[in-house]
């Protein structure tokens, strides 16, 4: 280790950071790939089908085949598109989805950047994901894409408010914006996890998370039955694949955040079992399964219903629960949170 450090000299911190980034992003990309397979399999079984099973055992090589296919496909550029923005769109979509992982802790020491305001950082970075959708929709110069991006912009901005308020409840309970400290504040068994005292916020956050990632039943931005594929209708090949990656990376991110903020992160549910990052992965897998389950179960919301749910149901619920939490913390029982 020291020898390598010697080799890079003053650039060592840079190289070391890069190595850590790769160590996060590479498995993430793998997870994305196999999440697509899991999705097809899970939904397949839910619909009493088998799902992909031709490429490799149980279709295990299917994601690789899909990736290769997309890689070799041509990226078609619509004639009247705004060229630079058209290419910028996918980049703007995937960059925040990856950047947010910088502060996601996998255990109390295993985190790329343990910054104090990490919760805020997450909120700020994820709020930028919408630009990819907007820019792509606008730059495509296509009605369907444009409609998709408009829907998405309004939807994401609306649900971000509810999501933000849900997180306010978390940071009030944990008394910190630091994700590591938020997890540590939940230690002591699963009855200490925040999903119990913050149950309404947990539900709001989970559902808003689905809406933020434009997943079914909130996928009006794609809405293939109405506007073909929404904002990415004009994209093909790798450019399309990047949108795809961004969507699934966002799903994994939301599941990680849900696990960290409401389900105790890497903490084990019972004090006698050791804490480990594996717990986090298990919780993430559970939340991801919920995502897939939603998609297989619920029909798509109508647009006005989405808006109503966000503004008239979620935001009031979160506001009320924040007041409840605030009042509760003034009572002698406040120690239960810490």
């Amino acid at each position: 280790m020291d020898a390598i450090q010697q080799m890079f000299g003053p650039f060592w911190p840079l190289v070391w950071s890069l190595a850590k980034i790769v160590a996060i992003v590479a498995p993430l990309m793998g997870a994305v790939a196999y999440l697509t397979l899991a999705e097809r399999k899970v939904i397949g079984y839910m619909q009493v089908r088998i799902g992909p099973n031709r490429v490799g055992y149980y279709g295990l090589l299917q994601p690789l085949a899909d990736g290769l296919k997309l890689l070799f496909k041509e990226i078609i550029m619509p004639t009247a598109a705004s060229k630079k923005l058209f290419l910028l769109g996918p980049i703007l979509a995937i960059a925040p989805a990856l950047a947010a992982w910088a502060v996601v802790p996998f255990s109390s020491s295993l985190v790329l950047a343990n910054v104090d305001a990490s919760l805020l950082y997450i909120m700020a970075v994820t709020s930028m994901g919408v630009y990819g959708v907007i820019v792509a929709g606008w730059a495509s110069n296509s009605k369907y894409a444009f409609l998709g991006s408009l829907r998405s912009a309004a939807q994401i901005v609306s649900y971000e408010i509810a999501m933000g308020f849900a997180l306010v409840g978390v940071l009030m309970s944990a008394n910190s914006l630091n994700l590591v400290k938020i997890v540590e504040a939940q230690s002591g068994g699963f009855w200490q996890w925040y999903f119990i005292p913050l149950l309404p916020l947990f539900i709001v956050y989970l559902i808003s998370g689905v809406a933020e990632t434009n997943r079914a039943p909130f996928d009006v931005a794609e809405g293939e039955s109405e506007i073909v594929a929404g904002f990415h209708v004009e994209y093909s090949g790798m450019a399309f694949a990047v949108f795809f990656l961004a969507e699934y990376a966002n799903m994994i991110l939301i599941s990680a955040l849900t696990s960290i903020m409401f389900l105790g992160g890497w903490l084990s549910p019972f004090p006698f079992l050791p804490d480990s990052a594996l717990w986090l992965f298990a919780k993430m897998a559970f939340v991801l399964f919920l995502f897939l389950w939603f998609r297989a179960t619920f029909p798509r919301y109508r647009y006005d219903q989405i808006m109503r749910l966000g503004w008239k149901v979620f935001i009031p619920v979160t506001l009320v629960w924040i007041i409840v939490i605030g009042a509760f913390m003034q009572t002698p029982l406040a120690y239960l949170f810490h």
Binding site: V115, A124, S127, M128, V130
Partner: protein, 214 residues
């Protein structure tokens, strides 16, 4: 000797200036709005250098993440004829340029480094590593400055009330669904089961038979 912070600062400052310039020179309003996003984002980076993490993140969260999204939303839907907007630009340019230069010169005379240079403004204190900008800001906002803080909340409330008062209009022909009503619907409200004979004794009319033949 430039240290790494200075280099980062100059890079960010250059990007902000470039983006700011493009905001007012870009021919396409959507491009201009996107450059504004870039300017905000880079400005947040500069604030980060000043150890104002909370403000930097809030800038990104509020301006980049929400305000500019809605801004873009509107700008994308507008059909702005830029050539028409730019009509008469050159007629006013000399006068406007003269006034602009005059103001810039006046301000340069007063606001030079003579009055605001590093020797006049003391260097900020260096904070220890566990100093939390966010906590400090929160403490100030909710104690010393709670009065203007609450006032700011009232201003926002007024903005909401005013926006609704100006735009809300209960049109008679607007369609509205009450979800509570939808949920309360019983089967009997919508579906009526009528018992009918399984087969109807049908009498063929001449018109129908003719139609079939044709």
């Amino acid at each position: 000797m430039l240290n790494i912070q200075d280099i980062v600062f100059y890079i960010l400052a250059a990007i902000v200036l470039f983006a700011g310039l493009r905001v007012i020179t870009a021919r396409n309003p959507v491009h201009a709005a996107l450059y504004l996003v870039l300017a905000f984002f880079t400005a947040a980076g500069i604030w980060m250098l000043l150890e104002a993490e909370f403000l930097a993140i809030a800038l990104v969260l509020v301006y980049v993440g929400a305000v500019m999204v809605l801004f873009l939303f509107v700008v994308m839907m507008l059909d702005i004829n830029l050539d028409k907007l730019r009509e008469g630009f050159w007629d006013y340019a000399p006068l406007a340029g003269f006034v602009g230069i005059l103001m810039a010169a006046e301000m340069a005379m007063v606001l030079g480094s003579k009055h605001f240079g590093p020797e006049r403004v003391p260097a900020p204190p260096v904070h220890s590593a566990d100093y939390s900008n966010t906590a400090e800001l929160g403490r100030l906002l909710y104690t010393d400055y709670v009065y203007p803080f609450e006032l700011a909340a009232v201003v926002l409330l007024v903005a909401i009330v005013a926006a609704i008062a100006l735009t809300m209009r209960r049109r008679k022909d607007s369609k509205y669904i009450d979800p509570a009503q939808q949920v309360r619907v019983k089967r009997n409200d919508r579906l009526k089961i009528v018992s009918m004979p399984a087969e109807k004794e049908s009498v063929e009319t001449p018109a129908e038979s003719q139609g079939e033949q044709a």
